[in-house]
């Protein structure tokens, strides 16, 4: 298909240490398409972060290949990669005096000159990103003065300003209350549909992801499956997620119940 942005072929992920090779998942054939919001779910410690690190080229795969726009991800120069793939990470920002506007504008770094001057076009793109994420009223505030939910939106705006076909977010909904979780995921959904970007995010908010995402990738110790949420419910994939007989997925309500 033409609108494939990122695909993996027979990808095995894991770690190699001096003594042994730890394989987390094998033979992954994932396919991330333009205009889709895709959720990555799985229990703690299952290897979501390893998968994200591998498909973003930070970590080498044990086997197989990751293709970004039909080109091997390993063959990208750092700058070219940054023009095709942007990230929102979970890590805390170091202390600084950056304003929201400046922070979003840093997303233009892959395009600016050696000293980082913003052209008029760059400023316009930054302003568009700020508008799309509805953080205009914050733009002159320092990044440490705003709430976690607002900061998450600012970081998404920064990724938007980086103007890449694929955005990957690592657990963007953690630390947020229900209201902000919903508004954040709705924002992501709106962005994929309005901008045609592909957005992949990992999350633990499974019921929300079921309702709002176009596709889901479920990681369990045995397999990794990718499909749209309804099919996954029919297949009963969610019941394989947690190894606990007391947590059961209710396919009619579309959420987990504790028995």
């Amino acid at each position: 298909m033409a609108n494939n942005i990122l695909t993996t072929e027979h990808l095995s992920i894991g770690y190699t240490s001096k003594k042994e090779t730890v394989t987390i998942a094998e033979n992954l054939n994932l396919n991330l398409q333009a205009g889709k919001l895709i959720a990555l779910i799985g229990a703690n410690g299952i290897g979501k972060s390893t998968l994200l690190r591998t498909i973003t080229g930070i970590q080498k795969p044990l086997q197989g290949t990751v293709f970004l726009n039909n080109k091997k991800i390993t063959s990208y120069e750092p700058l070219a990669l940054a023009q095709n793939l942007s990230m929102v990470l979970t890590e805390k920002l170091p202390p600084s005096n950056l304003t929201v506007f400046e922070l979003v504008a840093l997303g233009r770094q892959p395009y600016t000159n050696w000293i980082g001057t913003l052209s008029d076009a760059d400023v316009q793109i930054v302003q568009d990103a700020i508008e799309l994420t509805q953080i205009g009223h914050l733009s002159q505030k320092k990044h440490y003065e705003i709430s976690d939910g607002q900061l998450q939106k600012v970081l998404i705006a920064r990724a938007l300003a980086q103007d890449t076909p694929l955005i990957i977010l690592d657990e963007p909904t953690t630390h947020l209350d229900l209201l902000h979780k919903v508004s954040l995921l709705k924002l992501l959904k709106k962005l994929t549909h309005e901008t045609g970007k592909c957005i992949l995010f990992s999350t633990h908010d499974i019921d929300m992801a079921i309702q709002l995402s176009d596709e889901m990738i479920i990681m369990t110790p045995e397999t990794v499956v990718q499909d749209d949420p309804c099919n996954l419910i029919t297949k009963g994939s969610f019941n394989t997620l947690f190894k606990d007989e007391h947590i059961v997925f209710d396919s009619e309500k579309g959420k987990f119940v504790i028995t």
């Binding site: 942007s86 990230m87 990470l89 170091p94 202390p95 950056l98 770094q109 050696w114 000293i115 980082g116």
Partner: protein
């Protein structure tokens, strides 16, 4: 934008202030030379007293230029390190760079008798001291960096820097035990810091080193801005982190190493000046911070030098004492005023 206007005004004031301070610095000292005379002399005219002209050309002007170079270089190296180590308390002195440079110089001055004669011949030349000092500061910086990659905690990096500091001073202590009184005196004078007594040749070498360091720092402005979001974000924005870090380290080592070689280990300038710049300009943007730190560094060093000369008196206090006396309270005040110390 409002900020831009504010910055332009601030920069103009700072620049004018620096020029005034430069003249004040030349005019004041054990003998006060009137402003007008300083001006005529510096613009190539004939001063009314030939002794004044002699003092200005051979003593005051080189010292003022050295102060400007030292202030700029140390402050910028502090700025680079604070962003690279994500630590507001980083600076060439705190991280042990100056002690590393001291160790290098101590080996050259105090260990000269132990070294083979052909080596000590090379090492005792003006270039030798610069080389030893730069090598010393670079190796300490590399060690700190090595440790900082294993320790994610930025506070630990500072402690490691302090440990290197006491380690090097212990080695220096051992070396002094075995050296002659004359060598010891030479080293002690060096370690108290001195902006004067530099020949025009030395100033030329120092200028080249500082300009090279500043040029590398200028190249690092964009990477430094990316690093404000942390290493991983910076990489995700296309930054070649290893290369950027290498350039930053090279810049700081050249700056701190060459300056320490000529002017001695000077405390607090590298730590305090970037904070003053950040406080006044209220920004983290390194394009603004680079120039403001540069100007503030030069200006503050000129002030410290004026204070150390004690206008109207015969004696000159060691510059290192002045920067510490003025710098330490500034840092404490900053810490108390801004508890989260951005």
């Amino acid at each position: 934008m409002n900020n831009q206007k504010r910055n332009t005004i601030l920069f103009s004031f700072l620049f004018l202030g620096l020029i005034v301070l430069f003249f004040v610095n030349i005019s004041l000292g054990s003998i006060t030379i009137p402003f007008k005379e300083v001006y005529t002399c510096l613009t190539g005219g004939q001063s009314s007293k030939s002794t004044w002209e002699y003092i200005i050309i051979n003593y005051r002007l080189p010292k003022a230029i050295t102060a400007v170079l030292v202030g700029m270089g140390l402050s910028i190296s502090g700025l680079l390190m604070q962003t690279l180590f994500r630590n507001p308390l980083a600076g060439p002195y705190v991280l042990g760079l100056s002690s590393g440079a001291s160790l290098g110089v101590a080996f050259v001055i105090l260990g000269a008798s132990v070294l083979p004669s052909f080596l000590s011949g090379i090492l005792l030349s003006p270039y030798g001291i610069v080389l030893a000092s730069t090598l010393g500061s670079t190796s300490v910086l590399l060690l700190v960096l090595l440790v900082s990659q294993r320790l994610r905690d930025t506070m630990a990096i500072l402690i490691v820097g302090l440990m290197f500091g006491s380690f090097t001073s212990a080695v220096v202590g051992v070396l002094t035990y075995f050296s002659s009184a004359e060598q010891l005196q030479k080293f002690t004078f060096w370690s108290m810091g001195n902006l004067g007594n530099l020949s025009w040749t030395s100033i030329l070498i120092l200028t080249i080193c500082v300009l090279l360091g500043l040029f590398l720092s200028l190249l690092s402005i964009k990477p430094l801005n990316a690093l404000l979001l942390g290493e991983n974000y910076a990489k995700s924005m296309g930054l070649n982190f290893n290369r950027a870090r290498l350039i930053i380290i090279l810049a700081t080592s050249i700056l701190a190493g060459s300056i320490t070689a000529y002017a001695g280990p000077i405390a607090f300038i590298g730590l305090a000046v970037p904070h003053i710049a950040k406080l006044v300009f209220q920004t983290s943007n390194h394009t603004v911070l680079f120039w403001s730190t540069l100007l503030f560094g030069a200006a503050i060093m000129l002030v410290c030098d004026v204070v150390s000369q004690m206008p109207g008196m015969e004696i000159t206090l060691p510059i290192n004492a002045i920067t510490s006396i003025l710098g330490a309270p500034v840092v404490i005040w900053l810490l108390i005023r801004k508890r989260n110390f951005k």
